[in-house]
Subunit: 218 residues, 2 copies
DNA sequence: TGATATTTTTAGATTAATCTAAATAAAATA
DNA sequence: TATTTTATTTAGATTAATCTAAAAATATCA
């Protein structure tokens, strides 16, 4: 396995190359890992030696497929632990990052797969970011807030960004629990509230405030 | 906080001094931590510097009260994670040690206290070893197997050393679930089976095989 | 008690990850 | 394009944790 530190570099490179196809620069990595450029250069040589990155002096780096695999695996662990912390231990979604940052380095495939099952194989973490499955596949659609959807769009409720019991009880009462399918039927201009069809049966209107806190997979 | 490595030394010293009141020797620590005596000496100087141990050259070490605190805290974390792995993720009790060895170094008091609550504040880990509470207090009675008890002794069922669902279902059927109070009424010499009173009501006989796998606090 | 064996410590090296300062390459600009 | 600025790499040190080999202290026992 790779060291703690190596894993953090791989993760940093992965996140920096998300979106843009360009190679990632030494300075970008230094900033993300809170180290100095010289330290990054050293580590890049080491990671290249291990064939985890493609590195050409002065030209920046990309991850090899082995490197991508390793990075995705760390991200999978991070996000599953976040779900655990929020869903099972009652943390707020904004309190879990630092702890997950430590837990993500625990090394046991069995552990993480069992955790995955225990949590019901969630598809997204509490921030709405997708969780890679055990083979490393990522459902690239990030969750969106209902308040960001357009008339006619449909999706499945897959997360919340507000975790108070008051809010969760309200969702239950409204029938908007995890897994529920919804279709936006109308956006009401007057107060920003949203009319939607729940499970192809019930029609309901929810406030913009509520809609902002429900996350949906399209 | 203390480093990973420092924590492992503290834990080793704690375990080595359990039972005997004597100071612990350099060689004992070297064996327990799978390092060489010379490395241990270096680390002992460092721990003494930090006032975690009392160290006199050539005389061995004892933990200071700060050191005991730190060690007990690590043990608390280790054992709570073991309970989690067995009770929630379905690991066998003999599969959890190595993973708990990693998890015990995760640093968050909130995390561990919430985990404690989530698990129902267990008093012992799956091996029957007591779990220190959040103030560091240890119920020093290690759990004993029913098969090791004597006639007339009483106790409370607090753990099992066999985690198959077949066995757990049997316990439920027998009324020997966690928290049940038992009194040994007779040891049957012929086949080693044991007659006991359950919750001061039912009288029942269980086989030696079953008795070996039920852990009790006296 | 004195010689021998064992344990512990010291001295000096090594490895991983980091740093600062100086050198070099690449990019920007005048 | 030549010069300046910025980014990256190299060189050389530092810190934590480890090691081996040698020296010193303690323990054993004849």
């Amino acid at each position: 396995m790779h060291s703690f530190t190596e894993e953090n570099y791989l993760k940093a490179i992965y996140h920096l190359s998300e979106g843009n196809t360009m190679a990632v620069s030494t300075n970008q990595i230094a900033e993300m890992t809170s180290t100095k450029a010289a330290s990054v250069t050293d580590m890049l040589k080491k990671l290249a030696e291990k064939k985890l990155i493609n590195y050409i002096k002065y030209q920046g780096v990309t991850l090899t497929s082995t490197g991508i695999n390793a990075a995705v695996n760390i991200i999978r662990k991070h996000r599953l632990w976040e779900v655990f912390l929020v869903e099972k231990l009652g943390f707020k979604w904004d309190e879990v990052h630092d702890i997950a940052e430590e837990l993500e380095h625990i090394n046991s495939e069995t552990l993480i797969n069992r955790l995955d099952d225990f949590l019901g194989n969630p598809v997204a973490d509490p921030h709405g970011d997708p969780i890679p499955d055990r083979s490393g596949l990522i459902n690239h659609k990030k969750l969106v807030k209902i308040s960001d959807m357009q008339t006619g769009e449909s999706g499945t409720v897959s997360g919340v960004s507000e975790h108070s019991s008051v809010f969760l009880k309200l969702l239950e009462k409204l029938g908007l629990t995890l897994g529920t399918k919804i279709i936006i039927s109308e956006l009401i201009e007057f107060d920003g509230s949203i009319m939607l069809t729940i499970d192809q049966k019930t029609e309901r209107t929810i406030s913009r405030e509520v809609a902002k806190n429900i996350l949906v997979i399209l």
